[in-house]
Symmetry: C2
Subunit: 289 residues, 2 copies
């Protein structure tokens, strides 16, 4: 079961944050709101909130960090969808940002969301200055030149070229894995987890990050645009390097199952209330969207 | 006189920072280096360093913040030059990033530089966690949805439309003014300036930010691509709203002179070693590049 009540709690908080942007000029504000209000599973916020809960903290305490994570994720989708990159017209069942607002505003809306992610941590997140700075560092590192951008670069650059299993791993770890890991880690840092707990939670996150990506690749083959809310079959059309392409469909499913077990195993013996995190791991394996 | 020795000191430090990006994959790393090594006046780093010096601190102590400021400035130029925005082929006398590396890599190189700006503060800047967090907040706020991006949006959105003097002010304050102000303010925060000193230095910066922009607008009319290292006459070709267009050339020059006097006046009575900052203000009025 996916924790829809947390999604609702997060979406309510998001509205409060968006309220701070009333002074942002016209179409730029509309584009920002259009993109972040565009639903979705809110996986990164939910992971951040569940990490806090697993450590006995109220999920409310990490809502600003959860929001920063969603802003970064949304910015990355906006830029990825641009004609010069993945050229995708559809996102979460609606026209992607540049289709709705034009390419110039899409670039700027992405840039704005990225900046505001850091601003939200500084302005709204509770905690010691050191903890907040650690969160900033985690977000910057996960999304930077040796993180998300590097993964996206490899994805674009090697489309149509054959890559090794190591390069596929590198691509996924960076493109999606590091921000998913940061989601759990930021929740843990702000909830004053011990080093051992942070390490275990990061191993959990690294494994479910891969599960997420493998399922994503499989759904691109086996699902359709109506179910996905985004263009299906794009990977093969763009000759992208995916798990099923490199490993085959059956072996990809088997790897995903193994990773779920490794993720759940990583939470053992840490004194965590880990039930909801385990449920998320299983959800990511069986999700249809 | 422009403080070229500070530019050299900054460029040397920049090389050390770029050395940390050896692991960044191929063309992405090349694009990042191509853009940040592309010279320029390094105005924002120099302002940050001079703010520290005016408070009796070694300029070395703020080099990471200076580097973060230059990364943000460079990222904004890369994205501004994109075909969907200003569509500029020339930057600092060389092909702009998307001309040299393609539009996809230019978008990603800009994104990477923006993330790395925050990463550098967390990883390399000395100072208390609170001071560094204040710097992060200043950078995020200056470059975000109510800062640089808002200014750029207004610039693009109102090209070809008549705007009021208030909107022109809004555009410049946000597009260039806030990051110039942040340059001085970050240097001051890290040098433990008093609130009164920070306020005076910010007034100085707000005024020279306008001087910078007015001179920029004037040079676009009176200079040529060979001198500027970027396309001249673009503002009028794109029907951009500039100071000379709204105020006329002579009145624009007069406003710039007034702003220099106001900038220098703002530094009085603060116990600062303000000579080099005054020189910068005068340089910005008379610069030819």
């Amino acid at each position: 079961m996916y924790p829809d009540h947390l999604v609702k709690q997060f979406n309510d908080y998001l509205e409060q944050i968006l309220d701070h942007y009333r002074q942002v000029p016209g179409a730029l504000r509309e584009a920002i709101c259009y993109c972040v209000q565009n639903g979705g599973k809110r996986l990164r916020p939910v992971l951040c909130m569940l990490a806090a809960r697993s450590l006995g903290k109220d999920v409310k305490t990490v809502l600003p960090a959860a929001c920063a994570l969603e802003f970064i994720h949304t910015y990355s989708l906006i830029h990825d969808d641009l004609p010069a990159i993945d050229n995708d017209d559809l996102r979460r069942g609606r026209p992607s940002c540049h289709k709705a607002f034009g390419e110039d505003i899409a670039i700027l809306a992405g840039d704005a969301l990225f900046a505001e992610a850091f601003h939200i941590i500084c302005k709204h997140q509770a905690g010691s200055a050191q903890a907040k700075l650690s969160v900033v560092q985690e977000l910057a590192s996960a999304s930077g030149a040796l993180g998300m951008v590097a993964g996206q670069f490899v994805d674009v650059y090697y489309a149509g070229k054959k890559i090794s299993k190591d390069t596929l791993d590198y691509m996924h770890q960076n493109k999606t894995g590091k921000l998913i890991k940061a989601s759990v880690k930021c929740g843990a840092i702000l909830s004053r987890a011990t080093d051992k707990q942070i390490k275990g939670l990061c191993r959990f996150a690294a494994n479910i990050g891969l599960v997420f990506q493998i399922t994503d690749d499989i759904l691109d083959i086996t699902s359709n645009a109506h179910c996905l809310g985004k263009t299906a079959g794009k990977d093969s059309k763009q000759d992208k390097n995916t798990f099923p392409k490199i490993w085959g469909l059956a072996k990809s499913r088997e790897i995903a199952r193994q990773k779920v077990n490794q993720a759940i195993g990583a939470l053992e013996g840490l004194g965590l209330d880990s039930g909801p995190l385990e449920e998320i791991a299983n959800f990511l394996l069986t999700r249809k969207v």
